[in-house]
């Protein structure tokens, strides 16, 4: 009796690899599902694909709705946004802004998280909830008082004004705090007994142990900063100091006989997309780890 049940169990186990093999045939068994998936991916990617197609077209080609092939302009639009319209300098400004915001935000959040996890002080939880509370006030909500503050400080039109409001981040503090809380107490205590100071512990233990989390956070922060539009538009009035998202808006005013040169704009848009895309591809591993999605 018991032997029989064992046999059946072995039988099912042997069946499993077979079904896996049938899944990897050239034409998948569930081809309808795959067709649906391909369709939905195309749908989601269509704005990007269209932008790329339009970026290679001349103005008349863009306005010809039925023309969805690669245009006759080739890469001329790309060359033009770079040489004539200062795209390189916008992108450089954006890069500087994004890097400064990323580095400063990670540094501040690390210190805040260390304080919240490894130190005991009064009203610790209250302070943590106050930090979380700021999630309810994103930069756009604070734009008027922030601008007044920048004007009072005389920071308008500077990198300080561009990056300052983004440096403190409740999300980053929260994620790092949760991560630090998973570090065993004995590691901290061992460092204390060995006389390792808090900054050295942060640098030599916490940061190496949180490498994945920090890189993931950096990617998110970098992309977030890169994509900022409203605040730079308000606080930076000097076109030379402007970032790429606002720079795109300047391209809109370029064009002959009242016709917007969409080819030029789309070339700018595709270029603008590339740095975040690159960051995503390079750091996809730690990014998944940050959100607990890695296998």
């Amino acid at each position: 009796m018991s032997l029989d049940t064992e046999d059946t169990a072995v039988g099912t186990r042997e069946d499993e690899p077979l079904s896996i093999i049938s899944d990897t045939r050239l034409v998948p068994a569930q081809w309808r599902v795959h067709l649906g998936l391909i369709g939905s991916i195309l749908l989601m990617a269509s704005p990007l694909l269209l932008a790329f197609v339009m970026s290679t077209q001349t103005v008349p080609e863009v306005y010809d709705i039925t023309n969805v092939g690669i245009g006759s302009d080739g890469l001329a639009n790309y060359v033009e946004v770079f040489t004539t319209y200062g795209m390189a300098s916008y992108m450089f400004n954006s890069l500087v802004m994004s890097i400064v915001v990323t580095v400063a935000k990670i540094a501040v959040s690390l210190l805040a998280a260390v304080a919240l996890v490894f130190y005991d002080f009064r009203f610790k939880n209250a302070i943590f909830f106050l930090i979380l509370f700021t999630l309810m006030f994103p930069v756009p909500v604070r734009i008027v008082p922030l601008y007044e503050m920048m004007a009072a400080l005389g920071w308008t039109n500077t990198l300080l004004a561009l990056t300052g409001p983004y440096v403190a981040s409740a999300t980053a503090v929260f994620l790092l705090r949760q991560h630090f809380m998973s570090i065993p107490d004995s590691l901290v205590e061992s460092a204390k007994v060995d006389g390792v100071g808090p900054l050295r512990f942060l640098w030599d233990v916490l940061i190496p142990m949180s490498r994945g989390m920090i890189s993931g956070l950096s990617v998110i922060t970098f992309i977030y900063a890169w994509n900022q539009y409203l605040w730079p538009l308000i606080v930076i009035s000097d076109q030379n100091k402007q970032v790429v998202q606002v720079g795109m808006k300047y391209l809109q005013s370029v064009g002959n006989a009242g016709q917007t040169d969409w080819g030029l704009i789309m070339a700018g848009a595709v270029l603008t997309l590339l740095p975040p895309l690159l960051a995503l591809i390079v750091f996809r591993g730690p990014l998944l780890e940050t959100f607990g999605l890695s296998e």
Binding site: P184, S186, S190, K192, V193, D194, G195, V205
Partner: protein
Amino acid sequence: MTGITTTDLVKRFDDVTAVDGVDLNVREGEFLVLVGPSGCGKSTTLRLLAGLESPTEGAVAIADEDVTTTSPGERDVAMVFQSYALYPHMTARENMTFGLTTATQFTDDEVNDRVAEAAEILDIEDLLDRTPSALSGGEQQRVAIGRALVRDPEVFLMDEPLSNLDAKLRVQMRAELAELHAQLQTTTLYVTHDQVEAMTLGDRVAVMNDGEIQQVAPPQLLYDAPATRFVAEFIGSPGMNTVEGTIKRRGDAVHVTWEQNTVPLPRPVPEAVTSRAGESVVLGVRPEDLSQEKRGPLNMEVTVTEPLGDSLLTRGVVGATEMEVSLPPRSAVNVGDVLSLTADPQRLHLFDVETGAAFYHSADDVASEATDQTARDAPRSRT
């Protein structure tokens, strides 16, 4: 002198008193084991010594220097944790030297020499460039001990360092720790809940319960002359049988009786016992000091038999009290049998019912040795 002294140490967490007036004196070069059940405050005591907790009251001195308010890093102690506490991203060597390299007291060469020396002692020379994840539990524990060694501290503090190892490895590491201490003679305070570890490792053993030290004594003395009922029941595997009875005096003879059972005390019976005639006391007798005898004074109905190989541990009830007796192996004993037992008159203990304090050990020579031990408190010199 590099001993540890605590004076009336108290630690309260909100309304829980974890450590309640501990006076402990670890002598220079001594291996003192602090043993007790879970939650008795032994780990908290160790953490107070390390400086990881600050005492509510009392003082801690290491090497005759008051360190009650000194930060852990400045106490010159090294701690070995139950979970090893190795940094996962560092190699064994980096783990051992981390924290040393910043301290200006050592040059790089000195650090290298120390690591090489510690690695040789612990036989981990081949493992120095591996990260903890590539090491087995026993190897990780060696690295953790190595980390303590290279610091050459005044005092080693060990918090259940063998608890995470499997039984066989634990026995092996236990022997190695004893050997290591014989070699280095560093003052060591070792915390464990395992009384076998405590007995085998300790020069002296401190038994702790409910935040209080019950007794500090060499292992054999702890076993032979427990100071309290708790120590008697805790030390030994299994612990001492204890039963509440009454002291009865008939002329010269003194007995302890409960229900239909009677245990005579050997003559001469000291004044401390005779003066309590008629009072309730707790009688203690170890399982191996009970033996089968025809028409013995105790009748035990067997409920469980546990063959241990070298002996047959038999559990049963004497009157209404559960007791254990260690019988010779292969004894013909079955569940439900009624055994007739006698207790070794030289191995009886009496405890006060209220306080649990021992006031009589029938082995006179043992008792006198106990008095000697308490009187002799001279520090042992380093060899």
